[in-house]
Symmetry: C2
């Protein structure tokens, strides 16, 4: 029962059928949601052990040390879990140029939904993704 | 290619193999992450049409109007999407007693991970979950 997980002091992360747990990354300073990714058990352990955010890249099917290519690493300040322990919130400090998004923007959440259209809220590129990643593009 | 989705003005939500898209709910006021759930196309449409957050309950396999039982509805102020349009951020105002979590707490993220232990950050119950949901427990 998920309800047993609500009030326990034991951390028992619930990985899904693919062995992954959702991770919401927020800015430890102002709380902005920066990105969303998944961790497997190994990336969670590495994140806890090193204090640098590691994820699992579903597109590459590989361990993903965020910022390894771009330099835009995330220093982990605090990890929270939710009531039924199937989601993590990673409060982090942006390193490098302060861009969590592979597009070079600070946050991946830079567009507002208006019906079936998107309004851009942030056009400020902190790095040039073409120069950083080349044509192949980044992990995700 | 996901990269085509990065700079488009067209909202093209990418539902997963189960027809779901991840939704991070934050407090429209102070940005606190309140909860995390999934929407299918119908719940996203209802959310956009009514301004009240609707989700898909994976445990019940049913449309889930958040707060229908508890009264703790979420009034949607703004919806953002991420770079590759497979995650939504729903900025919302808490209604009712101001508890997004089925445990009666404001946020589902009320515990900090310390190694394999959890430290409670919020013991404040805004409602009594036993009285609201009875034994059956809520949707999730």
């Amino acid at each position: 029962m998920a309800s047993d997980l609500d009030e326990t002091h034991a951390f028992q992360p619930r990985f899904d059928r693919d062995g992954l747990i959702a991770a919401i990354v927020t800015d430890a300073g102002d709380g902005t949601v920066l990105m969303f990714a998944y961790m497997n058990a190994e990336s969670l352990r590495l994140t806890q052990d090193t204090g640098i955010a590691h994820f699992w890249s579903r597109s590459r099917q590989a361990l993903w040390k965020k910022g390894e290519t771009s330099g835009e690493m995330l220093k982990v300040i605090e990890i929270l879990t939710d009531c039924d322990q199937d989601v993590l919130q990673v409060k982090a400090q942006l390193q490098g140029k302060g861009a969590a998004c592979h597009t070079g923007r600070r946050s991946c959440f830079y567009r507002r939904v208006e019906g079936d259209r998107l309004i851009f809220l942030d056009e400020d590129r902190l790095f040039d993704p073409g120069a950083v990643y080349g044509r192949g593009g980044p992990a995700s």
